[in-house]
């Protein structure tokens, strides 16, 4: 089932959570909404689910208006960050909930409910916990229950709100891989909200980067990382080395001096040069477009990072290439190999 978001705007008092957002989510994909907190990603997810309504705009499922239907009629599975399991029910009853509340012709006989719940419990690999209560489970197990419960209603769309946000790093990684496999097995259109870029890039077919209520970029994980559309995306995804600069007369100036760097067609005015730390080489100060003084060098495992203070007092962090041992206090030159130039907003 495909989802279309057309011109959706949502305000909370004076705060604009979503500002005329347009998005097409093709059926069967796993899409990640990625952004910092306050970017509107959770609000968008809740609007798709029917837990919130937009002030204006449309939401369509397979071309049909979804806003006219309430959350219980939309047939979406929703997985909450803090699981939202029913504490007074055991795992089995939690998963069976969506089947038990069905009315009339949709109501399943008890035997069919048991079979379906047992199937789901083995799918999420917790069939041995059926009799436990949620407070007797670990975080990872609880999230598996929540997922099984959401899948029990055979949803047309699966929505996950920071599903691994409350788990520790190791469990998160394991569940991430498991969710990816599950999606291959059950290719239901899934939308995942996360602020964890690693999660989004590793898990999703398509990444939607959001900032301040707007969509900054939609693309494959590779595209979003390698060809960020805006300075915001460059900053938010991966690490960035940011050099304040300015374009005048079609030339890039850093500090006082003109450089040979390409302004990439950006018009005159203040700009930022953004590069991945590993895309910046170290050089002799006189030969490089950017110069600075080494403030500190830090080592984590195989990588080393240097804090470099530029002429005008800005501090940037650069990856130190192997074989080079910059001395603290020494003057050093930086040569961006690959970089993007964005006008300063």
């Amino acid at each position: 089932m495909s989802i279309d978001i057309l011109n959706v705007t949502k305000r909370f008092k004076t705060f604009t959570a979503l500002d005329a957002v347009n998005l097409h989510i093709p059926g069967g994909q796993l899409v990640a909404l990625l952004g910092p907190s306050g970017s509107g990603k959770t609000t968008l997810l809740r609007i798709i689910a029917g837990l919130d309504w937009p002030d204006s705009g449309e939401v369509r499922f397979d071309g049909q208006d979804a806003l006219a239907r309430s959350v219980r009629e939309r047939n979406v599975g929703f997985v909450f960050q803090h699981y939202a399991l029913f504490r007074h029910m055991n795992v089995f009853e939690n998963v069976a909930f969506g089947l038990r509340v069905r009315k009339g012709a949709d109501k399943l006989p008890e035997a069919a409910i048991r079979e379906k719940v047992n199937q789901l419990l083995s799918l999420v690999q917790i069939d041995w916990l059926a009799d436990r209560r949620p407070n007797q489970l670990s975080g990872g197990q609880r999230q598996r229950v929540a997922l099984a419960r959401a899948l029990a209603i055979s949803p047309r769309i699966l929505l996950l709100d920071e599903p691994f946000g409350a788990l520790d790093a190791k469990v998160r990684k394991e569940l991430r891989r498991w969710l990816r496999n599950l999606h291959e097995e059950l290719p239901v259109t899934s939308v995942l909200v996360t602020h964890d870029q690693e999660e989004a890039l590793e898990l999703a077919d398509t990444v939607v980067v959001m900032g301040k209520g707007r969509i900054e970029q939609v693309g494959s994980p590779q595209e979003v990382y390698d060809a960020p559309a805006t300075a915001f995306v460059h900053d938010f995804i991966g690490e960035s080395l940011s050099l304040p600069a300015r374009v005048s007369g079609g030339r890039l100036h850093v500090g006082a001096g003109e450089t040979a760097l390409d302004p990439q067609g950006v018009e005159d005015g203040p700009v930022r040069i953004l590069a991945r730390p590993h895309d910046v080489d170290f050089a002799e100060p006189d030969a490089a477009p950017v110069r600075g003084r080494v403030l500190a060098v830090r080592t984590f495992g195989p990588t080393r990072r240097a804090d470099i203070v530029l002429g005008d007092g800005d501090i940037v962090e650069a990856a130190v290439p192997p074989g080079i041992h910059p001395a603290v206090g020494a003057q050093i030159g930086l040569v961006p190999r690959r970089y993007r130039v964005f006008p300063t907003a």
Binding site: R72, A84, H88, V101
Partner: protein, 284 residues
């Protein structure tokens, strides 16, 4: 004392919450002085009379009727408070309306108001020439000086117990639970029945027990509105006072003993029910 502590058997568990000995000691002392001592005096005084006399006192029609009025109306008042108190809590917690804080504060008035004042106020309102009573009289409903009047007084004093016990629990209930239920296809009613009520059930039972216990012991407000006709609108606490005024102390304590045992049994039952509601779903 210290040597004794040191020589305790090795099996004793170390705890990060120390002070078990001293707090339990204080608890027991305090309970003994404040609660158990007066209660045992009650039983000692009662034991002055013979068993036949005791049975005769507590099975006399007047006593039985007073007990029936007290317990019957207290239970009825607690049930009504449970229902309407829950609705009040729902409105207070779930909706934002003008003067919500004022309404919230009004709930506590029955706690603070001297019960005699409440009794007199209710009586003058519900008497046949009172504001409410004069409206009900043409319909043939008499409130003041009937059992209905007692019920009104008992509802009045019991309401805050239900509201104040349930309110924090409902306020803490995660809204996500209801959203999850709705997303799974549950109707509003199914959500309330299967998700909200089970979560607040222990608090509801506590509120019910407190309202009931308070109503059984209520004296001040009831005697004004009841009319106090023996065999009709006489409550057990009043009968006890009457016996005291006649210097028939043993008679008074005998009735008190029965009330105490009956209340204790009922509260114990409610407590069991509450435990059950908390444990529900652990096993099967």
């Amino acid at each position: 004392m210290i040597t004794e502590t040191l020589s305790l058997p090795v099996g004793r568990q170390r705890s990060v919450i120390p002070g078990f000995g001293i707090t339990l000691g204080l608890t027991l002392t305090w309970l003994s002085v404040i609660v158990l001592l007066p209660l045992s005096a009650l039983f000692i005084k009662t034991s002055e009379i013979s068993l036949e006399r005791f049975i005769a006192i507590v099975t006399s029609t007047r006593t039985l009727h007073a007990l029936q009025v007290s317990f019957g109306l207290s239970l009825a008042a607690a049930v009504l408070n449970l229902i309407f108190g829950t609705i009040v809590v729902w409105a207070l917690v779930r909706y934002d309306f003008p003067f919500r804080r004022v309404v919230d504060a009004i709930i506590d008035i029955p706690f603070a108001l001297p019960t005699a004042v409440a009794g007199i106020a209710l009586t003058s309102l519900y008497a046949e020439n009172g504001w409410v009573g004069s409206l009900l009289a043409p319909l043939g409903i008499k409130v003041a000086f009937t059992q209905l009047g007692i019920l009104v007084a008992l509802i009045f004093i019991g309401l805050p117990f239900v509201v104040r016990t349930v309110q924090p629990v409902l306020a803490d209930l995660d809204a996500e639970l209801e959203e999850a239920a709705a997303s799974l296809g549950a109707s509003r009613w199914e959500t309330i029945r299967r998700v909200v009520l089970p979560a607040i059930l222990p608090a509801l039972l506590t509120g019910f027990a407190l309202a009931f216990a308070r109503a059984v012991g209520e004296y001040g407000s009831v005697i004004f509105i009841a009319g106090n006709l023996p065999g009709q609108t006489e409550i057990a606490p009043l009968l006890i006072v009457i016996r005291l005024e006649e210097f028939r102390y043993a008679d008074a304590t005998a009735i008190a003993c029965v009330m105490l045992l009956a209340s204790f049994t009922l509260l114990l039952l409610i407590n069991r029910l509450q435990r059950w509601s908390e444990m529900r779903g652990t096993g099967a």
